[in-house]
Amino acid sequence: MTRLKDVVIIGAGPAGMACAVEAAAKGLSTVVLDENPQPGGQVYRAIESASENRLRVLGHDYARGRELASEFRQSSGVDYHPGSTVWNIGPDRLVEFSRDGKSSAIRASHLVVATGAIERPCPLPGWTLPGVTTAGALQILLKTSGITYQDTVLTGSGPLLWLLAAQMVDAGSPPKAIVETVPRGRLFNALPELMTALGAREYLLKGMSMIRKVKRAGVRIHVGADDIAIEGSGAVSAIRFRSKGTEHRIATDAVALHQGVVPNQQVTRLLGCRHFWDDSQKCFRPKLSEDRETSCAHVYVAGDGGGIEGAKSAEMQGRLVGLAIAEKEGHGTDPRISELRLTLKREAHVRPFLEKLYAPSRQILHPDDATVICRCEEVTAGSVREAVTQGAPGPNQVKSFLRTGMGPCQGRICGLVVTSVISESGGKSPDDVDYYRIRPPLKPLPLAELADYSADIPGSRDTA
């Protein structure tokens, strides 16, 4: 018989862990499914196994995750399944997942999607060359293995870029250079948002101290970079760009790209939740109620999957969702609910400033015709524009024409860029252009594992 649980949480990052702790404390049967071997998600990745030295390098904000992870571990009543990949969610929230090479299913009364954010794809000439990675990938390497690349050029914009640079300085292998794409004048334009941002000034102070640390370490910083191209045959050999009217070329064998992070929409799209285009964050977000319930009843989003607000907010959102579900299940109204809502609003104050300052660069949102935007199927921005002129109104028709989003990543990487290119060339808003329909499995699934799979699904829905 398929198990029925009160709460099934996908993801054991800050949001997922906090949600599980609160739901279980209220006596709800709670399951956490997470792909990684340890709790922590991306931001607190490998938090339980990091050495003291690594904790020092990664900084106080990272080390804070240890408390949450231990609260999560000690919480009785949380049924935690690390190493579990959710590959489908059927109607009535039947969650199908793979663990240790076997698939099974759990039915959830309430489903919490805590799958967080993914890095915004950075399609530039040469971005598919070996040696090019993302800032997030470098940080994962640092967190899990304490490894840093030598002489990496960090390219792009956003808080994570500076955080990684500061961590690399502390790890003793500072980046070779930072090529920042924030255009000149952007800071001035963002100033009106600064007053609001002062409501959450600790973030600004932290940001400034990171930037100071990197500058003090002597890292060469190029600002206002544009027309970036990565050179190399077979692997990266250099990065070329224009900054302050001058052409630059830095020889390097490692480039890390970053243009901020965006919600991972795969699960909420698969479920058919309503989404909207957030022009400030330049991404789609699921439409959420005050308690973070989606347009699909009993499906919630906690953390950055509902919009980018950072790790601290993610944890609070997780707690809020856990308590809100408990309230729905008749466990009374917890006074912390209103407290959390209030604090979350204050925390969000810094976002408009950061979003304006670090908005993705023109080159990323509207890549040149020759730039590959779908890596799996090697489709260029130009051929997507061509498909639009041939009458493809949206991503799903472009997909049928060109196979964009049909490779192993199933659109995770190219989805937003494809929407953005169609939107620009067809003169339609991203909301009207819409996004890929997401088909299961959410992650590739061995055919032999499916052949062995027999979830005990109630016969009434089966047609055979």
Binding site: G90, S400, M406, P440, P444, L450, A451, D462
Partner: protein, 380 residues
Amino acid sequence: MTIVPARHTTPDLLIIGGGIHGCAAALFAAKRGMSVTVIEKDSVARHASGVNAGGVRRLGRDFAEVPISVRSMQIWHDIPDLLGEDCGFQIAPQIKLAENEDELASLRKRADDLAMLGFEHEVVLDRSRVRELLPAVADHVVGGLACLDDGFAQPFWTTTAFRRKAEHLGAVFVEGVRAERLVREAGDWIVATSAGSYRAPKVLISCGAWSGILAAQLDEPVPVHAIAPLMLVTSRLPAFCNAVVGATGRPLSFKQMPNGTVVIGGGRRGIAEPASNRSEILFSQLRLTADTAISLFPIMASATIIRTWSGIEGCMPDEIPVIGASRKHEGIFYSFGYSAHGFQLGPAVGELMAELASTGSTQTDLSKFSIDRFPSNQCQ
């Protein structure tokens, strides 16, 4: 000021449904000089015509369909000349495998029966011939039945190619417009839609699973129901199979695409929800498809599924379509209910419907496909 209705709202022939059948009929009608408008409630090739397995198959057809299927194959072999695009059409053997002697005997009988009717396109394969054609096939397979010059094509590409060619010849396509009601007025049909009215002396209803609603309105209720055949595609594998493979005793449609991915489907069904345009994947059913594929091609044990999908198709109780003129109304024509095997028939039926609509008759025997063949004539 006189208001002149747009030409596309008063064509000679209005086609409801922008699938391969609607698009092919539009092309052939336009070739005959008719003015044609196609209205489609979603976008062209959104449903069955865009998401099917793309099999271009004469093999194993109901005997009633064989003459049309054979004619269609002739058109398929000339498709680049007809459309100016190759539609990804490739000739490849279609092979139905027998997993035991009983199944092989039934395939032999079928080939003999078909030959008695004068059709020799299906040939029996013995054990060694199957292995010549399919070196990767499982040991237990004893033989098969094949059409060696059938093939496969890209369904979305093909359907939109018919559309483009039809447009080139003057047909008008209007997407996002749903036909809601048909009323007879002064010898014409007035079709009320979600975006105004269309007027035409002749109307072709070819909107797949949604056709039953309009047929019932016209007092010709017919038991067409919506189905959602399940499909899956794997990551790329080294080339090992250049035929389209089915099985005799269990549902299967199996083929390796030119890019190395393997597309597997063949009759296992999910849940179709035509009202919301959604279909639901049932992995409890798809696991049987996976199991069949691995047992017939052991190499598939190492494959990985990248995506599954399903489209909504119209299905009849006897699993052959409704094709022909209305039995009750002048100027109404039907072409729907292809029961998950209409893609290959598209070109020939399109040609037929154009002939019917422009001349009022055809030499092709359509009696088996008549809309009033169901005794109850009731909707399911």
